[in-house]
Symmetry: C2
Subunit: 357 residues, 2 copies
């Protein structure tokens, strides 16, 4: 019961911090007229109410690393956690513009909502997409400024700034590769796809909150590096699971359109493996067809299973989880990390391992 | 001769700082593969070699405010000047994406260059535009991080962070209004257009470098506020001149396509005035026609002159210049600013007043 209560309390504190940020900015935005204030309110509605995976991860690890931290420091930690959520949403906004998406998890995203509110179709979509580019800019700047203003020591601030800079560069590099793959500018070999998944997902969704927790807990550079590596392994495992779930998983459970990756021709590790097998000649003709039927999707799924692509990517997931586990075992043996921290990370590892949606 | 030599030296120092930033980032980008490193190199080629109006403005005013500043501080000042140029380029990149522009001043912009390098047309344009969104994100973050890492006192750093935050919010708000005007979502009345021009141009191109100079010279908040107001007036005058030059000026001298504003249907103060006259019924049918001929452009130009729109906006320019001059006179009388600072600003004012391109 205690753990659940704490989880709830944590979520409430992060939500409060997020709502406060958006409320302040929506009010300040009124000086620039109703459309700009409205954009902030729409962004607030879309950016809040999520699962807060990244900020919760930061708070969990921080508590394990620094069980005796003071209340004043707790506000700083919640603040940085909120900035990470804003950074996440800034990335989502620009991703949706780049991918031309109007929906996320079957509901209209910010672009879909803004486009729907207006009149003439073309101008409306332009207005909605431009607004999303601009809101992404605002939230990206807000997140960096939040890191810059953190009430921490000078050395911790410098570490935080290096961390957010590295994170932004690597995430953007990953997105750039992803776009290059989709547009046929970059060759979709397995190595490139695994690197892209690590850069685009693992770095900011896993390594960033873990490393930020380390910096805020004044942990050693050694611990920060271990956490960074664990984040990369878990994040890559998570993304590979996502790819598997989208093709082989329960669409009801994961909430994405079934076979959307196949329909969009998304270059995943599954596809990179299949390309190297004789099954590819049978997959290729319908891969990336916007009008792929459910029957055809089932057929492609069968081919990708038979050629060994599913099993291969499942084994990659296990490899990544094992690599994360190894780092933990070594840190336990050398006492680089406390028992609390190792337990916390093992729980996280088990959660990634056991996910079904 | 001394002044010219110093001007050259100033330009060289800013160019060096910019080139160093891009060189470091291009090298670091190689870890993420050739396309990402190539994007940085292309951005460097497009972002350098300009007139450096904003960084030069900062350095000029800073020298006037703080004639005895040390060499070490000079590096910090040049650094902030370079960050302002990067911020300017980040805004240009996202503006070009939003406006669908492939050219700037008759030469291919970053998007035009990247799209041209590739193969199939649609994917290429998508790759080029997505790359421009992502590079804009990187440079926006770089500029904010540059402000955050400035080697200044804590209070100066907090002022710098507030300044760049205010600048980004206001510039983005201005761009948001501009898009709303173009897409017909926001009513193009004169007040809205003047506010938009101030937010979108004056704030970051004039007020930002002037205020940053004040903070770096440890000037009083009073001086910073005076400089901010002067920047707003000069920046608005500058933008209104731009609007006038595009329709009534010498196309060879200003380097833009003649009548491009009329062809694009750009909502300027000239048009807002014309809308309130009986001439509008004759302007409206061809305003915003992509296929506007030179003869038709000349005809519209005549109508806009006759209805008083040109004269009205010329008088607005004079009003803004007079308002800036009044602040200077008051600051001179109360000795809020030194003679050097007033002279420097009067030179700037005269330069804006006398511009023909």
């Amino acid at each position: 019961m205690t753990a659940i209560a704490t989880q709830d309390e944590q979520g409430i504190r992060i939500e409060e911090a997020l709502r406060l940020r958006f409320a302040e900015r929506s009010t300040a935005a009124e000086a620039y007229g109703e459309p700009f204030a409205g954009l902030w309110r729409s962004a607030a509605a879309h950016a809040t109410g999520g699962k807060l995976i990244r900020p919760r991860l930061l708070l969990d690890i921080h508590r394990a690393l620094s069980p005796d931290s003071r209340r004043r420091d707790a506000d700083t930690v919640v603040g940085i956690a909120a900035e990470i959520e804003l950074l996440h949403y800034a990335f989502l906004l620009h991703d949706d513009v780049i991918d031309g998406d109007l929906y996320r998890r079957r509901r209209p995203n910010l672009i879909g909502t803004l486009a729907h509110d207006g009149g003439a179709a073309d101008d409306d979509l332009h207005w909605a997409r431009s607004s999303a580019i601009l809101m992404g800019d605002l939230l990206l700047a807000t997140a960096v400024l939040g890191f810059a203003r953190a009430r921490v020591s000078t050395s911790a601030r410098m570490r935080l700034l290096d961390l957010i800079e590295h994170t932004i560069v690597e995430t953007v590099a990953g997105e750039h590769i992803d776009v290059g793959l989709a547009d046929g500018v970059i060759v979709p070999d397995l190595r490139t796809i695994l690197a892209m998944s690590t850069y685009k997902t693992a770095t900011y969704s896993f390594s960033l909150p873990l490393r930020a927790a380390a910096v805020l807990a004044d942990a050693s550079v050694e611990v920060e590096e271990d956490l960074s590596a664990i984040g990369r392994h878990l994040g890559l495992a998570f993304q590979l699971q996502d790819d598997l779930l989208c093709i082989f998983g329960d669409a009801e459970a994961h909430g994405k359109d079934p076979f959307s990756d196949l329909r969009e021709g998304k270059e995943t590790a599954i596809i990179a493996y299949a390309r190297m097998t004789t099954a590819w000649s049978k997959v290729a003709p319908r891969f990336g067809s916007a009008d792929l039927s459910a029957d055809e999707g089932m057929h492609l799924r069968g081919l990708l299973r038979e050629c060994g692509a599913e099993g291969f990517v499942q084994s990659l997931v296990l490899d990544e989880l094992a690599a994360a586990s190894e780092i933990l075992t070594a840190a336990e043996e050398t006492r680089t990390m406390s028992g609390d921290v190792v337990t916390c990370l093992r729980t996280l590892l088990a959660r990634v391992e056991g996910r079904r949606s």
